[in-house]
């Protein structure tokens, strides 16, 4: 497969691949019209049938709701028509997913476990026969799917799984043994994408492969439902595989390539999660605005107080940014020829943190009743929190964003280093080299032809894209391979990239809007864009400065000594 371009990875190399993100992707008019009807149906259905607080209290989603949604067809949106689904674009799929999250988080998680990740490996790598066998049932909602990767000893370090699938030479079947934990839909799914290690070749080296496992296979068992902080209506259980006989024809993708399959699934799955966060953020914003306008203190609606206005503004800006980056990235997926792994990780990290900020401020605006179980805020707070943890914790994703971005760049550095004897001295040459490799494309370190109303934001973006490149070179030059352990720096670099991608997402969205509608008609959006970019470049600048000038060593020391003493042992009194 030819190497695919990536907007964010190119930023590490100092190049702005404008063509990837401009103009802002649009879905075609017909799909948009369909989408708006589907959203109408879904909203109406929810109005009539979904009681989110009841789902939270009872800990389950009533069968009629899942049945009703199945009838609407939402469980097969992403599945191609030839397998009984509807072949939605990633944009359309995620937009519906966003709406489901605004209706109820448990519902969205169930749907995500099924469609964003549970059956995704089949879609991406399933054989024709496997697709024909499973997808129609999964599309109709007759069956639900789950994605089983995590194990007791392997969470963030997913490559460390212990579940094995050993070929029984006599039958050709794989014998599956092991435990999975935290599996969404684990309690009732009929289809599982299970990742297990298989011995490879003569040496017997264990490599990960993906398997299609069904509930009816002997030896598959679910544990009891986990009691969780939130998303109470979603099922999360342990899964055990006790000598489960899996036919060789159930291997998904090539033998030994399962880790790559898992990462690919998560790359796209994460985006759904970010879309869900956009939905949650928008819904909370509406609740907060309503409350702020109605609640009077000191004889005036609290919406008139600037500290409250600040919160509302932050919510709206966050919602706008998440929306902009999510649907820019789904657009990238839909064009099919770019690497979007960094972008989707960025959406997940930014989206989940934005949703968390928002729910916290929404609760604050609601005051005492925000804390009351009779109002939706505390449930929202409990429901939203998971997003920072699953489908890759935000820490692990930050490390991934920084390292995957630098990896490519680092490899060239190595090569060039060898060639030049005096490896990492002449940065100018290095930069030329990296830029040169993209020579077949027109790439620059400028954003061209952006609407003049955005010239300041565009300028800042270019300036700080350069800062990122410089920071990356500094870090790589200094630490080389050891950069992997410099997490303080990785965090800063990833935060810089996150802000840069967020900036370009709102800039390109605004650019398209300005060109289509004219400046007078997009004033609100323009103000949001300006406000965000102003904040973002200042954050990038701070992160950039702290690459060299920081207190990391002290923080490390404090953490290490506290780990030694086993906690806070510096009590002032007593």
């Amino acid at each position: 497969m030819p190497e695919q371009l990536s907007f964010c990875k190119s930023l590490f190399a100092g190049a702005i691949e404008q063509e990837i993100v401009f103009p802002y992707p649009r879905i075609d008019a017909e799909e948009e019209e369909n989408l708006s009807m589907i959203l109408d149906s879904l909203r109406q259905f929810a109005k009539d049938h979904v009681n989110s607080s009841e789902i939270d209290r009872s800990g389950e989603i009533p069968k009629e709701i899942l049945g009703g949604l199945a009838e609407l067809g939402v469980f097969g949106m992403s599945i191609p028509e030839e397998y009984g689904g509807y072949g939605f674009s990633s944009t359309a799929y995620n937009r519906v997913f966003e709406e489901m999250a605004a209706i109820d988080a448990s519902l969205a998680v169930t749907m995500g476990g099924h469609q964003s990740i549970g059956l995704k490996a089949l879609l991406l790598h399933g054989s024709e026969e496997q697709k024909k066998r499973y997808l129609p049932k999964l599309a109709s909602g007759e069956w639900f799917a789950a994605f089983a990767l995590t194990e007791p000893g392997a969470g963030s370090d997913a490559a460390g799984i212990q579940t094995t699938a050993v070929k029984d030479e006599s039958s050709g079947d794989y014998i599956l043994n092991g435990n999975k934990i935290w599996i969404t839909n684990g309690g009732f799914a009929d289809f599982f994408t299970v990742f297990a290690k298989t011995p490879m070749g003569d040496g017997g080296e264990m490599k990960i492969s993906a398997f299609a496992v069904t509930r009816d296979m002997e030896g598959v068992a679910s544990g009891k439902e986990e009691e969780k902080l939130g998303i109470h209506g979603s099922s999360t259980t342990e899964l055990t595989f006790d000598n489960v006989r899996v036919p060789a024809s159930n291997l998904i993708g090539p033998l030994g390539k399962g880790f790559k399959v898992a990462m690919e699934v998560l790359n796209s799955g994460r985006l759904g999660l970010a879309a869900a966060c956009a939905g949650g953020t928008k819904k909370l914003t509406a609740l907060s605005v309503d409350h702020a306008m109605n609640r009077k203190q000191f004889n005036t609606p609290i919406a008139n107080f600037e500290m409250i206005q600040g919160k509302i503004s932050d919510m709206v800006v966050d919602a706008f940014v998440v929306e902009s980056m999510v649907y820019l990235t789904t657009g990238l997926i839909d064009r099919g020829d770019v690497d979007y792994s960094l972008e989707s990780a960025i959406c997940k990290v930014y989206g989940s943190e934005a949703a968390w900020r928002t729910v916290s401020e929404a609760m604050q605006i609601a005051g005492g009743l925000g804390y009351s179980a009779e109002y939706p805020y505390e449930q929202a707070l409990r429901d939203v929190r998971i997003n920072l943890i699953f489908e890759g914790t935000n820490e692990v994703l930050r490390a991934f964003i920084a390292l995957a971005g630098m990896q490519e760049h680092g490899e060239y550095l190595k090569k060039v280093g060898k060639a030049l004897q005096n490896p990492l001295a002449d940065l100018g040459v290095l930069t030329d080299y990296t830029l040169g490799r993209i020579k077949s494309r027109v790439s620059t370190n400028r954003l061209e032809d952006v609407h003049s109303a955005l010239s300041e934001q565009t300028g800042k973006f270019e300036e700080y894209a350069k800062e990122l490149h410089v920071a990356v070179e500094k870090v790589l030059t200094k630490y080389r391979k050891d950069v992997i352990h410099q997490e303080f720096l990785l965090q800063r670099i990833s935060d810089m990239v996150i802000d840069l991608f967020a900036m370009v997402s709102v800039i390109t969205r605004l650019d398209s809007m300005l060109k289509e509608k004219g400046e007078d008609n997009v004033q609100r959006e323009l103000t949001i864009c300006q406000t965000f970019c102003e904040d973002a470049w200042r954050r990038i600048r701070r992160n950039s400065r702290q690459i060299e000038n920081n207190i990391d060593a002290s923080r490390k020391k404090i953490a290490e000594s506290t780990c030694e003493t086993g906690g806070y042992d510096l009590d002032l009194i007593g």
Partner: protein, 327 residues
Amino acid sequence: MSVDILVVAEQRDGVLNRSTLEAVVAGQELGKQLGKEVALVALGKGISSLAEELTSKGVKEVLTVDDDKLSDYTPDGYAGALQQVIAAENPAYVLFSHTYTVRDYAPKLAMKLERPLVSDCVRYKMDGNALVFVRQVFQGKIDADFTFEGDGPHLVSFQVGAFNADNLETSGAAGAVRNLSLSMDNVEIRTKVLDVFEGVKQEVDLSKADRIVSVGRGVKKSENIEMMKDLAAALGAEMGASRPVCDDGWLPLDRQVGSSGQTVAPKLYFAVGISGAIQHIVGMKNSGTIVAINKDPHAPIFDIADYGIVADLFEVIPEVISALKES
């Protein structure tokens, strides 16, 4: 002999629909304005005693059409008969009370006569010499003025409750009964009436309730009904609802209050997120104390409420619940 203002009486099994008297009141008031007399027309089979009863209702004449084809109400029969009555009598105005039956045949009559009908008027007024009929549009949120040009017959139906039957002027001489013999031969009755019946008895008899909390479409979704149930519990009240809430299945049908639901008159009626459409109001307007909670200050429900709260019900109801619990 001809009539000036003709009011069409509505009866079932010889029993007068009380709203007919409202239309007579409208006719009398209009007659005073215009210096015209009012007559009633009743259709049916064997309605002589009804006709007799009508003579005391302050009209100059009671016209009757007594025919086999009118023994049951059918739109063909009524429109066919009235078309002939109107052609013969040439009244300036033909007035109806806007009942479900009138909804069913009056437009047909209008088409037959090629005379427009202003339906469901809430009042009339004089604008100089012009007689202006006022009807509501957008479900009572806006009023619209209409006038007629040229000679009659002009057809007008008045909303039930728009005029008060208690204001009926009956002091004058009793009216004379005049039987009209029309030829109904050419009137083909295509609908066959099979039965007229009362729907299944409601499981919940709201008419006996002392307190009712009624919810309307303002609750937004079925999920929010729960909060309203909490309010009802705190008040010791029964739950009621506007029609759309029952249509959508958020509450069972036997909770519906209004013209096609139950008629209630509790001591206390809470209307929460109900706009106050006429079909709802006729079912609860005789309640003792009416409390309306609606975020739209122009909602017609505030016209009949005793206490009104213009606010988001989701903000107010929880506070009302806790205030009730405290007291």
